[in-house]
């Protein structure tokens, strides 16, 4: 029996789709059977981030409306055979699907997959309600900025009201240099305001932009963000992994050259 995890945030642009892609790929790398579902109907982009947009024939709305079987709509990932994507529709909108239909779909997929990741759209309306319908647990993504934290607080309140059994927090795009200067909230500050267990901190990493453009999630690679996402995946499957020390950025060489540059 699989676990349905919804990745949500409230605010747009904080990294839900990126997190869904990376966590899903990471879980597949750890030999789990994973399916990613893009529930953002009308503004789909999980397929782009995964690099699978040219393989889409059927989508989520086709499955819900009964135009095709789930098997036909699932797209196998380029790199990992145990990772699948169920893309969203670009030509419809969020009223095309109801929460009950989503629950039925996720219940069916639970029989076959270990993890079902729902990429939730921004906002608190129909799209959000659809995405949380069948979920067993939630991952709330936020950046350490006041507006994102405020929206995350609202979302956590709504998740509590909908009796979500487990909620964890991912602090994304953290910049330790700004935190040290006191210009940015630390992950501890964010956790204090939101009062939810932290499952991972992902630093701001240029490599994310590159990996998105290339359509290849960078989880597991030797980059700060890659390590952070892999740790999150390990924590999801139950391992106890200590938080990364994000201050450990520069290598010995850059420290030496840095000294020369300052002189």
């Amino acid at each position: 029996m699989g676990e349905v995890i919804v990745v949500t945030s409230g605010k747009g642009g904080v990294g839900k789709t990126t997190s869904t892609a990376n966590i899903g790929t990471g879980l597949a790398m750890l030999d789990k059977k994973v399916v990613l579902i893009d529930t953002d109907i009308g503004l789909r982009n999980l397929d782009v981030v995964m690099g699978l947009e040219n393989r889409i024939v059927y989508n989520l709305v086709d499955v819900i409306e009964g135009n095709c079987r789930i098997r036909n709509a699932l797209i196998k990932d380029k790199r990992y055979p145990n990772l699948y994507l169920l893309p969203s529709a670009q030509t419809r909108d969020k009223t095309s699907v109801s929460p009950e239909q989503m629950k039925k779909l996720s219940d069916e997929l639970k029989e076959e997959f270990d993890y079902i990741l729902m990429d939730c759209p921004a906002g608190i309306e129909q799209g959000f309600k659809n995405a949380i319908a069948g979920a067993d647990r939630a991952l709330v993504v936020t950046t350490p900025e006041v507006s994102a934290v405020r929206d995350a607080d609202r979302i956590i309140g709504l998740l509590e009201a909908n009796e979500m059994k487990q909620t964890h927090l991912i602090v994304n795009r953290l910049r330790m240099d700004m935190v040290k200067r006191g210009d940015m909230m630390s992950s501890e500050d964010v956790c204090e305001i939101l009062a939810v267990d932290l499952i991972g901190v992902v630093p701001d990493d240029e490599n994310i932009v590159i990996s998105t453009n290339q359509g290849e999630p960078l989880v597991g690679s030797d980059t700060m963000a890659g390590h952070a996402f892999m740790n999150i995946c390990r924590r999801i499957i139950g391992e106890d992994v200590p938080l990364l020390d994000l201050t450990e950025k520069s290598s010995i060489f850059s420290k030496l050259f840095g000294k020369y540059r300052k002189n």
Binding site: R150, D151, D153, R154, I156, G157, L158, E160, I193, A195
Partner: protein
């Protein structure tokens, strides 16, 4: 059946007499007398409101949990919130509000006009506080790291004051 006396003003004894006559001679059961005196009605209404306000201040209930952004709670009585009130959340009470945690949202005490109502918080950093008809808002530039002590917000001379909760302030509170 309800009865109302109009035209001539009757004293209480005269009203009693009429009621007795009706009771003896008919099968009608008079449940109440409707009073059409505007002045007396106004007096009763004021007294009732006063009593209700005092009741709101003197009775209370508890609420346990964090009030998250977007949540709005309204209480007929005073309330003790065991938890935080986050930014974007709102508490409204006809009586007093006590937050055993951080107050970062909006608190509205004395909602029906009781100017004696107060707001207490262990960590007082509200967006807006309103007591009866007066609103106060937080400063535009955040004040850097004040001491984390319990504070009370109360209304005096039409202004809302926020002061640390010391013995002398406690003595000045009237319910």
């Amino acid at each position: 059946m309800a009865i109302s006396f109009e035209g001539r003003d009757l004293t209480n004894e005269e009203q009693r007499e009429i009621l007795d006559i009706i009771q003896e001679n008919t099968d009608m059961h008079i449940v109440c007398i409707i009073d059409n005196d505007a002045e007396r009605e106004e007096l009763f209404r004021k007294t009732l409101e006063q009593r209700l306000m005092e009741l709101a201040n003197n009775t209370g209930q508890f609420y346990k949990g964090i009030l998250r952004s977007g949540a709005s709670l309204e209480f007929e009585t005073s309330v003790v919130i065991i938890g935080d009130v986050n930014h974007g959340a709102r508490v409204v009470s006809k009586g007093n509000i006590i937050v055993l945690g951080a107050l970062k949202g909006n608190a509205f005490a004395g909602a029906t006009g009781n100017t004696n109502s107060f707001v207490v918080a262990l960590d007082m950093r509200p967006m807006q506080i309103r007591i009866a008809d007066t609103i106060a808002r937080s400063p535009d530039k955040p004040v850097k790291e004040e001491s984390k002590e319990a504070k009370i917000a109360f209304l005096e001379d039409g202004n809302i004051y926020i002061e640390p909760l010391t013995k002398s302030v406690l003595q000045d509170i009237s319910l």
